[in-house]
């Protein structure tokens, strides 16, 4: 097994285990959560959090699970993983001095770059799908009468993946032109944390990137049983543009 494959598997495994470790107690706690929803609502200090609890209450288990898995876990941990996986992709090679070695083999640059992008993207997206696929089984263990369709969870995972891929690709582009993975990582993390923070502020919430992957969106996907292409397609196009820009920048990059 090659070093790159091994690294990919470790990353994917780490993200899968972390997401699942957050998901299992959250899903199993659903009956208690549902029963104490009113008390919890009263304890919430700000409106955004109270609104979220209302959405859980109205959409039932599906809304709650979407909130836990996608809005909370994937939008925070998944985004952090997207930034961490991409920040060092090329800049990491430059930083450790191995870029020249990486490029000196008789392999086209575009292939090297796209392979690296693809490996990171897979390590990012696969755990989202895998953990989301366990939700219907987990809800069955939670001693509730509600059911969640696997197809709905996979559609939500696809929607979430489109956002994560866009963040990953933007960071990947920065890595393709930069040489300091730490600076790129911190800058992108700051930007995404800022975006997540403004989601919670009523007046500016519409400027947040995470409006594209919040609880109402996922509830709508579950209810309609189809992807919201008005969001997914632009996100995929943004990823494509960032990948193309990375390829063009990398073509002329000096080791």
């Amino acid at each position: 097994m090659g070093a790159a494959t091994r690294s990919l598997l470790w990353r994917a495994l780490a993200l899968t285990l972390t997401l699942e470790a957050l998901l299992v107690p959250a899903v199993l706690f659903w009956p208690n959560f549902r029963d104490n929803l009113d008390s919890l609502r009263g304890m919430m200090p700000f409106k955004a959090a109270r609104d979220m609890l209302d959405q859980f209450g109205s959409a039932g288990a599906a809304g709650y699970v979407c909130g836990q898995q996608f809005f909370k876990a994937c939008n925070t941990l998944g985004t952090a993983a997207a930034v961490l996986f991409a920040a060092g992709a090329v800049a990491g090679e430059a930083h450790r001095g191995t870029l020249e070695l990486w490029l000196s083999r008789p392999v086209p640059r575009r292939r090297l770059l796209l392979e690296r992008w693809g490996a990171g993207a897979l390590a990012l997206v696969l755990p989202v799908f895998l953990t989301s696929a366990t939700i219907p089984w987990l809800i069955g263990q939670a001693d509730v009468e509600e059911e969640i369709a696997l197809s709905a969870m996979l559609l939500c995972a696809a929607h979430q993946s489109a956002l994560l891929l866009a963040i990953y690709s933007a960071t990947f582009f920065c890595s393709s032109v930069g040489s300091n993975p730490m600076a790129i990582g911190f800058a992108m993390l700051f930007l995404t944390v800022f975006q997540f923070a403004i989601y919670l502020i009523e007046r500016v919430t519409h400027y947040s990137l995470f409006r594209l992957a919040d609880i109402p969106r996922f509830i709508a996907i579950c209810e309609r049983g189809e992807l919201d292409l008005r969001i997914v397609l632009p996100l995929l196009c943004a990823s494509g543009v960032f990948v193309l820009a990375s390829v063009l920048a990398f073509d002329r990059r000096v080791p």
Binding site: L101, S104, R105, P106, D251
Partner: protein
């Protein structure tokens, strides 16, 4: 080391007017030369003279701003993959993936090469005593250099480009590596290497290219060096040359011996002081014919000793760069 070269292969490196600048700094002025087929050509020059930039341009790691490169009949274009398929490149800077084992690293380095290259590289590494089952982080600087060297020498290619292949190696390892380079060149491979070790260049290379501040300032082959040696006399004047005024007077007399039908030289005699010696070079002809004139000069002290027909690479280096080579 298997070596099967295609009959269509011309095994030449042709560099035509390539230049490269990094921001305001010109790393390489328009440079042209041709190397091969076969033989070892050494690229010499002080740090920052443009050696590594030139080598990187040839293999397509750095795009030249102008000019063209043809390697083994293939024009450098795009990202240079077609050129890199016909050559191997051992970078001068050693930064390896230290988390990998030596064996894994060799396979990684040899991606895109024929399958047998890994086995060949492993056998070379075994011969050099590299512990391939250990992680690269446990390797010394010299061991890492040898690992890169093994990967560069293993594939069946008509041209190899080695950036300081023996830097950081002890004399015995350096000898082993030079032997492998010589053996490979004897099979017909064209090798272009850069080096700071004049001893190894003297031993292994049949031609030398001197770079200075991004310009190719001189190209010498072994025959040229021998010919220059045959036109050179070394006159040891002892402590007389340590006094600047005295040295200047001696040089003036020596340079006055050339041309104007006075001596054997049709042109001016060139004389320089190196330590206790005056080096006298004729543009052509046998300088020994000057000896009678030198000894006949009343205003010249008789030299304590005279040497003829020797020219070390260190002298050539000093001649080009004006600094003492070590």
């Amino acid at each position: 080391m298997p070596q099967v070269l295609s009959t269509a292969s011309d095994r030449k490196i042709q560099v035509r007017e390539i230049s490269r600048r990094f921001g305001p700094k010109v790393a390489l002025h328009p440079t042209s030369f041709e190397v091969g087929p076969g033989g070892v050509t050494a690229l010499l020059g002080p740090n920052g003279s443009g050696k590594s930039t030139l080598l990187r341009c040839i293999v397509g790691l750095v795009r030249p701003d102008s000019g063209s490169v043809t390697l083994d009949g293939v024009e450098l274009s795009g990202d240079g993959t077609a050129v890199r398929r016909r050559t191997t490149f051992a970078p001068g800077e050693i930064s390896l993936y230290t988390e990998l084992r030596g064996r894994e690293h060799l396979s990684w380095l040899l991606r895109g090469r024929e399958r047998e290259a890994v086995a060949v590289a492993e056998s070379l590494a075994d011969a050099l005593g590299l512990p391939l089952d250990h992680r690269v982080r446990t390797y010394s600087h010299g061991m890492k250099r040898q690992l890169l060297f093994c990967a560069a020498m293993a594939p069946r290619v008509p041209v190899r480009i080695l950036d300081e292949p023996s830097e950081g190696l002890d004399p015995s390892r350096r000898g082993a590596i030079l032997e492998l380079i010589e053996r490979d060149a004897a099979r017909g491979t064209t090798i272009l290497l850069s080096s700071h070790h004049l001893g190894e260049v003297d031993r292994a290379s049949s031609r030398m290219l001197f770079l200075h501040q991004g310009r190719l300032v001189r190209s010498e082959d072994s025959a040229g060096v021998r010919a220059q040696a045959a036109r050179t006399l070394r006159l040891d004047y002892g402590s007389a040359l340590e006094i600047p005024e005295r040295a200047a007077a001696i040089l003036a007399v020596l340079e006055g011996l050339g041309g104007q039908g006075k001596g054997p030289s049709p042109g001016p005699v060139r004389a320089v002081v190196r330590g206790r010696r005056a080096i006298v070079t004729l543009p052509e002809g046998d300088p020994r014919a000057l000896l009678a004139l030198i000894f006949a000069q009343r205003d010249l002290p008789p030299p304590e000793s005279v040497e003829y027909g020797q020219l070390s690479l260190a002298e050539l280096y000093r001649d080009v760069y004006g600094v003492e080579a070590v």
